[in-house]
Symmetry: C2
Subunit: 435 residues, 2 copies
Amino acid sequence: MAKRIVVVGGGAAGATAAAKAKRVNPGAEVVLVEAGPYVTHAPCAVPYAIAQAARLYIYTAEQFAREKGVVVYTNTKAEVGEGGRLRLSGAVSGALEWDAMIIATGASPRVPQVEGVELEGVQVVRHPAEAEAIKKALQPARRVVVVGGGYIGLEMAEVLLAGGKDVVLLESGRWILNKMLDEDMARLVEQYIAARGGQLRLGETLTRIVGRGRVERVETTGGSVETDAVVLATGVRPNVELAKALGARLGETGAVWTDEFLETSVPGVYAAGDVAEVVHKVTGRRTWMPLAPYANKMGYVAGYNAGAGEKRVRFPPVVGAAVTKFFDMYIGKAGLGEAEARQYGIGATSAVVKTSDKAAFMPDAREIYVKAVASRGVLIGVEVVGFSPYVAAVVDFAAQLIGRPVEEVILAEYSYMPHTGPVWHPLVSAARLLD
Amino acid sequence: MAKRIVVVGGGAAGATAAAKAKRVNPGAEVVLVEAGPYVTHAPCAVPYAIAQAARLYIYTAEQFAREKGVVVYTNTKAEVGEGGRLRLSGAVSGALEWDAMIIATGASPRVPQVEGVELEGVQVVRHPAEAEAIKKALQPARRVVVVGGGYIGLEMAEVLLAGGKDVVLLESGRWILNKMLDEDMARLVEQYIAARGGQLRLGETLTRIVGRGRVERVETTGGSVETDAVVLATGVRPNVELAKALGARLGETGAVWTDEFLETSVPGVYAAGDVAEVVHKVTGRRTWMPLAPYANKMGYVAGYNAGAGEKRVRFPPVVGAAVTKFFDMYIGKAGLGEAEARQYGIGATSAVVKTSDKAAFMPDAREIYVKAVASRGVLIGVEVVGFSPYVAAVVDFAAQLIGRPVEEVILAEYSYMPHTGPVWHPLVSAARLLD
C-alpha cells in the first residue's frame, strides 16, 4: 500500500504542505483534514472583508483536491485515538492510519479571562468565516472599544474609524505595537492614531466588560469607558492540543518544538505554521512568530521532507520581517528593536533617519522614518514608519541584511529612479549614521 | 602642510567623495573642481524637470563648501599640466598640486556621428542645466522622434506623450530596452508603449537628420520620418580624458580601470562614478554601469580610502540593479538576463510568473510579471515588469539574492500584508518554478 501522509489543518501551512508532499511523492496518499469548511483561507483578509475592500480568498475543498491530487476532509476534527491512529469526527469519521503526519493546526485568539467576554457586542477576530458576523454585529454601534494595540487591533481600529465609529484603543503596555516597535518609533504611530480621531488609552488593562445582555461599558485598571461594542484583539496562542496528545515536545515559547527540518520530537511527525516555533537569526533562540509567509514556507519545507521521507530541506532562521498599516501610514520591522535587544542582553546602538519614499525633489515624495539598530558593528534590526507602501520594500531589503556588518549594509545594492526611492536608500542612510 | 586631496567632478560621485574624504581626514585640504555651475546635480531629475513635476536638486557651491568643509571651484576646468600638477582654467585658474586625487568626471551622451545632428530642433539630454532649453525647444513641436530605446529614451518618450506630442521611438536593436530586458519581457513594454500612443520603430538605425536650419525629417535604415524635433538618447560614454592624461589605465569596457579599493593604475589616484568600471558579481568580469547609486557609493569608498591614505574599504561586485518607468508601468532588472547569460557562455534556464503587487484578493491589485533566470541551480538574474512601484521593491529584494542557490531564494524572508505584496513573494513564486 502506498505511504499515507496526513496533514492536519487546512490553512496556509497545511495546504502548502499537502500540495508539496504530493508533488514530491506522487505515489503517496496525502490526506488533508480541516476542522472548518474551507482550505487555504487568508486570515489577513479579515479586516478588509469587513471593510468590503476585498473578497475572501478561499479554495473550495473540491477545487483543492482536484488541482493538487490531495484527499480533503473539511468540517472534520482530528484527535489522537487508539494506537496513535487519528480519530476523525464530523463530516468524516473513523480511525485514520498514517505513515507521516504534518501538524498545521495554527493558532487561535487568546481571549482575556475577564467577566463579560460572553456579552452580546463583544467580538473576537478569529477566522474569515466570522467576518460577516462581526460586520453585522458592529453595524449599529456608535462607539467601539478595541482591546489590544497589536497589529490586528490597529487594523481593526482603522476599519472602524473609516466606518465612522468612535474608536477607543486600549493597550496594556506603555506604547502601541510594543512587540514590534521601540517607544520612539511607536510615538509616530500614536500621533497619527490621534490625528485620525482614534482615542488611545495606554497602560490600561481590561478588567471587566459590563452590560445587561449587551455590552454597555468596559472597565480597566485606569477607569471605565462607555461603549456599544468591544473587539478583542489580545493576541493569539498556538493550537498545540493534537501535538501534545501525540507526545510531541513543546518548546519554551509554548509552541511546538521542531528541529531545523521541522520534524517534531516524534519521528515522522512534522509541524508547520503558527503552531510551531522558529529560530531567530539574531538571538539564535527559539521564538514564536505566527506570520503568514512563515506558514507558507514551513508548509513547503515540512511537505517536502515528509513527502521525500527524508530530511532534505532546512527551514532557515528568521528575522521577524513584518508590516502593517493604519490608513496611509505603513509600519514595518525586521530583526530586533533596541529595547528588545536589551531584553536579550544584547548591547545595541541605533540611529533614526527621516527621509522619503521617492527622491527628495519629487513633489509627491512622502516622509518615512527608519531606525537601524546595530550591535558590535553588525545590523541587528530595522524599524520603519512612513506614509507609503515603500515601508514594506525597506523591510524586505533589510531582512536580507540583518546579521551583516554595517559597512556591508552601507554598500548594499539597490535600484534607483526618482519615482521609486531616494538615491541613498533609507536603510543605507541610517546605517551611515551608525558607522 | 596638510595633505591636499583634489576631487575632479562635482556630480554624485565627486561630491560624496569630497565630503567623505574631509570627514575621514579633517586635517586634509579637500578641493572639489567642477566644470559646470553646480555640485551634486541629479541627472535623473532631467526628464521630470521637463515635465515640471520636480524642481532640480542642486547644492550651490557655497552651501556645499560651508556644510562639508570642502573648497569648491565651480565653472572651472581641470587638465593635466606640467609635472603632473592640475592646470585649472575658467573661474579659477593656475596650477594645483595634489597628494591624492579622485577622478569623478562622469559620462557624457554619445552623440551619433550622422549628418544633421547640429540642426535646430535636435536635442541631447545631458545635464540639468539644459532642462529649460530642451523644454523650450520642444514646445512648438507636434511630432518628436526619440532616438534610442534605452531607459532615458523611454522616460523622454513618456514626458513627450504626456505633453500631447506625437512620439516616434527609434531603436536600432530588435527590441526595446535590450540592454535591460530579454525579448519576452520587452514585448510587454512595447505593447504598452503602443497602447499609450507611442509609435515604435525597431531594428532601424538613424542614418541622417534632414532640414533647412531646422530639423524636418530623420532618415533611418528602414525609411524616413517627418518630424518637428529630435531627442537623442543614444547612450553615454565615460569622460576618461583626464584619467588618460594622468596615465591611468582604461579597462576593456573603455572606462577607467580600478582595483577593488577604486584606486586606478596610478598610485594615489582614485576613480569613482560613471567614469569607472565595476565588477559584475555573476560574471566576475569588469563591466561599465553608470548608475546613480554606484556613483554615490563609489564616491563614498574612494573618498574614504583617499582620505584615510590607505586602502580600507572595498567596493563590492555589483548586479546591475536598475529600474525605470513608462507612465504607470515600472520596469526593473538585477543580474543577468537569459540572452545576456548566453552571450557570456553561461547556460541558463528561466521561469516567468504573472502575479500582483498586492494580495490577489485586493481589488486594487495590479499585475506584475517576474522572470527569474538561473544557472546550475543558482539565481543569476531577475527581470520585472508591472504596473506598480512594487517592481523596484522586487528588484531590490532580488539584488540581495543574486548568486544564491534557488532553494535558498525560495525560503528567503520578506514581510506580508495584503496591501504591500502577495503572500508568496513574486520572486519566490518564480524561483519555485525553477526548482
